[in-house]
Symmetry: C2
Subunit: 151 residues, 2 copies
């Protein structure tokens, strides 16, 4: 469906407006699809995101500001996200011995196991949207998005 039909526009729109709406709406479609996946395992998308970042640390714990800077939505409240993950025993949180201002957050085995289960589901979710595009088109889309974003 074209974006004009999605929002049932009555008058023609400029190309820049169509692109913006298309990106906003596409993100929404992706986000809702991913929400379902995460929710089925009692995670919010942002909680999943934190777990993924912690696994990327390969054993090393991450402190709060490291997590924050690696998140997609930079304005999330990391403290409360980690609180929720703690309750589910998917992460640990300890004061950093070298610098007591910092916290060391690490993923637990239970957290790693959960990610392992989710991996193929997430891969499939990511691949699903690319089904209609050739490899060449995928590369092009990726390049255009980066060019577009870097104002």
């Amino acid at each position: 469906m074209k974006i004009e039909e999605v929002i049932k526009a009555t008058t023609p729109m400029s190309l820049p407006k169509k692109i913006i709406l298309n990106i906003m709406y596409t993100q929404n479609v992706i986000g809702e699809s991913f929400s379902e996946i995460a929710k089925a395992h009692d995670l919010s998308p942002e909680q999943y995101n934190v777990l993924r970042i912690l696994r990327g640390q390969k054993g090393k714990p991450a402190n709060m500001c490291v997590i924050q800077e690696r998140m997609i939505a930079k304005t999330s409240n990391t403290t409360r996200l980690v609180d929720k993950l703690l309750l589910k025993e998917l992460v640990t949180r300890e004061v950093c011995p070298d610098n007591r201002r910092k916290m060391e957050v690490a993923i637990t085995q239970k957290g790693l196991d959960l990610l392992k289960i989710l991996d193929p589901v997430v891969d499939n979710h990511e691949a699903k949207f690319c089904n209609n595009l050739t490899e060449k088109e995928q590369e092009l889309l990726n390049e255009l998005l980066e060019k577009y974003r870097n104002v």
Copy 2:
């Protein structure tokens, strides 16, 4: 900046994953930029969205479900969005005489005036991101996004 640098990825990612993260992150960048614009006029992005939909009605009032289906984020709570706009006297809300289950929401002159002020700012915001792309590339990006989304 490439998306790998944005999220400071340590290991290489698949193209489908890069595209998804790129769309999510780009939406975030656009959204935060637009939030500032809306906020400067005491509107949330979704409140602006409702006003824009109501103006598109060209005088005809819209009922709640019409507003809902034209919004980008379909899960917003339209009742409470309209509540906020009512308080600012940017819209009116009345029971529909033909069907008392429905509400008729219409934009006021004050609302139209506000949109008029915002129009050039929003146009500029939309155009800004396209600056790096040729007309041809813009068309291509738009087409690829629609192809991508329609799973």
